[in-house]
Symmetry: C2
Subunit: 346 residues, 2 copies
DNA sequence: ATTAGCACTCCTCTTTGTTGAGTGCTAATA
DNA sequence: TATTAGCACTCAACAAAGAGGAGTGCTAAT
């Protein structure tokens, strides 16, 4: 059987209507509210075909039809009309420049959740591919060395190192110069033990004292590269009955709280081949187990060279895809602009 | 009417039973499972009295009794027997010393939630009363100065300052010495504009260049003093039917997500006059609106001089108070020990 | 003062019936 | 041949009615 134009129109009508109402859609509704001018009986026959083809299904014998996952997939692939979205509150938010990445991203998550009424997730860009701009060791007090590393994008990493051997100011100065000359311009990912060894060697006479510190530095640089994820609007799932029964809700809430469970979303999004940077997962397509009954839309955003993160929106399968995609698109643009402005300024 | 010993025993039996089962408790149950050796009829009379006195109430005419808020209050004030609690997984957790306060507190929250099966909250100690141990300005690149401040407890604050005028190395060194000599040993709260002005003056010839930087430093020191709160086990509220209907659940989940809504808990806990540092809020007593149907138990913990934070447990009114208080007590001790060991080590 | 006995209440669960939206099929129609 | 009117049928959703049972309050006996 073929999906001719009329079937397509009917399918679209069913989905549109279901997205709006959340109720199964009957043949009479379609008959009345489309410009096809067909009787409900004809629609019924067509709908029967559509069901056979797997695009829609009946919750029970005498109910209307609802879209199947395949139906939604067809919709987002070919029927969807992206809506231009003004993202409320975003403009003001971005105007007052956030110097803390964390604050900015938390706010983005919040704004997304409020604008869409779905749950939102934002991952911070991974920084281990960013180049080291500045590195410095300082003595805070006896036995304690503070290591500060600034990478591109002005992301700052700190670590307090406990050392058994005291370092004098001169040694520290020397070390700082060594570290900066060797590591500057490299990304954290590129820094390896070989380099550290080379630096140790160059330190010359102080090898034994320096060795301990350098090991600690190496460790400090490498660790702490867990993916930061911010969420907002988790309680929005209660707006959608199909998600808010106890078990599902509990599992979802747990997922939002245990943010590592969301890393697979980020991974997929960043790996995705989509040129738009936007991906849609319907039901079982999602990489996150607890979201089998949801749809997830992710977008990759960029805050400058290599600083890529992910924004995700999690809602019911019958989410307003047009609106969601529009919102994400707007955000991508705004965040991109934000970086450009920063670039000029700094 | 007076609350004699027999009434007290019956009240205790009702509450104990209700805490266990969550079902209204009938007279026959009490008659059978206590050592009072009284018939159900007698118990009925007594229960009728207890209801009149406001300690218990009937959900409907032909049901058993459940404790009222007043009943719970009496229970926690006079009848409760704190249970010694082994806090599972805590030992191992604390053994591997956490150098990041954040990681430690997140873990504490998680362990509390898992041990009690209620929702948990942990506030980070406020650091603005901590003394400055170390302060340093460094030039990261043209126009960008990195300010690092370490306060007691090894809490590190960073801020990138954008400046229009270039500072040479000599000026920077001078500034660092000035800042350290003037601000070292003071708490962030004690640092005020007057001091900054004094430092500016001392800078001598460089006043105009230095001025801008100092203003930025002053700002950096002051800001960023919002209360960090970590939560865990929010989805545990679904274990308790009385909390998990849509509206209540949604509001609670929202409270856990918008962590500022929890600050009043921290405030009350820290201000509390309790010598044990443990406070119990039953129902309406809670300072957080959305928890009117919950009970909240908070404990103040201390990680050394002035580093006070709050641990909170949020559950249904029929929570196992004995267990919860026991758990919190254990934690207070463990965290205190943790600090002492650190103190020795550092 | 305590308790057995009893009528009474009211929640809970099950059964039964009613309604109505929506279907699939058949036969008539354009 | 495609469309449609008509009709019997299905089934969730709701309401009404009844049975069961846990628990109460009161009264009278111990």
């Amino acid at each position: 059987m073929e999906l001719d134009e009329r079937k397509t129109k009917i399918l679209q009508a069913v989905i549109r209507n279901y997205l709006e109402t959340g109720e199964p859609v009957g043949s009479r509704t379609i008959s009345k509210y489309t410009d096809l001018n067909l009787s409900s009986a004809t629609i019924r026959n067509e709908m029967s075909d559509l069901e056979e083809m797997g695009y829609i299904l009946q919750p029970h014998t005498s109910a209307g039809r609802i879209p199947s996952d395949k139906g939604y997939r067809f919709y987002v692939d070919t029927l969807m009309e992206e809506k231009e979205r003004e993202v409320v509150e975003l403009k003001e938010m971005l105007l007052e420049r956030q110097d803390k990445m964390e604050t900015l991203l938390k706010q983005v998550a919040k704004v997304v959740a409020q604008n869409t009424q779905y749950a939102a997730m934002v991952s911070a860009p991974l920084t281990h591919r960013n180049k080291v701009k500045f590195i410095q060791l300082s003595r805070v007090e006896a036995g304690q060395i503070l290591a500060v590393i600034v990478v591109e994008g002005n992301v700052i990493k700190n670590k307090i190192l406990s050392v058994t051997q005291e370092l004098n100011d001169e040694t520290l100065l020397k070390l700082n110069i060594l570290l900066n000359t060797h590591l500057n311009g490299l990304s954290i990912a590129e820094i390896n033990l070989g380099m550290i060894a080379a630096i140790k060697k160059q330190a010359g006479i102080h090898v034994d004292i320096v060795s301990e510190v350098m090991d600690a530095v190496a460790e400090a640089i490498k660790e702490d590269e867990d993916l930061e994820i911010y969420t907002s609007g988790a309680n929005n799932i209660f707006r959608y009955p199909e998600l808010s029964d106890h078990d599902k809700a509990s599992e979802l809430i747990n997922t939002f709280e245990e943010k590592q469970l969301l890393t697979s979303l980020v991974q997929n999004s960043l790996d995705g081949e989509e040129d738009t940077g936007i991906q849609i997962y319907i039901g079982d397509e999602t990489p996150v187990q607890s979201m089998k009954d949801c749809s997830v839309v992710t977008a990759t955003y960029e805050l400058g060279e290599g600083m890529k993160g992910t924004i995700g929106i999690i809602g019911p399968k019958r989410m307003d895809y047009d609106k969601v995609v529009g919102t994400l698109r707007t955000l991508q643009t705004k965040l991109d602009e934000l970086y450009r402005d920063d670039g000029k300024k700094e």
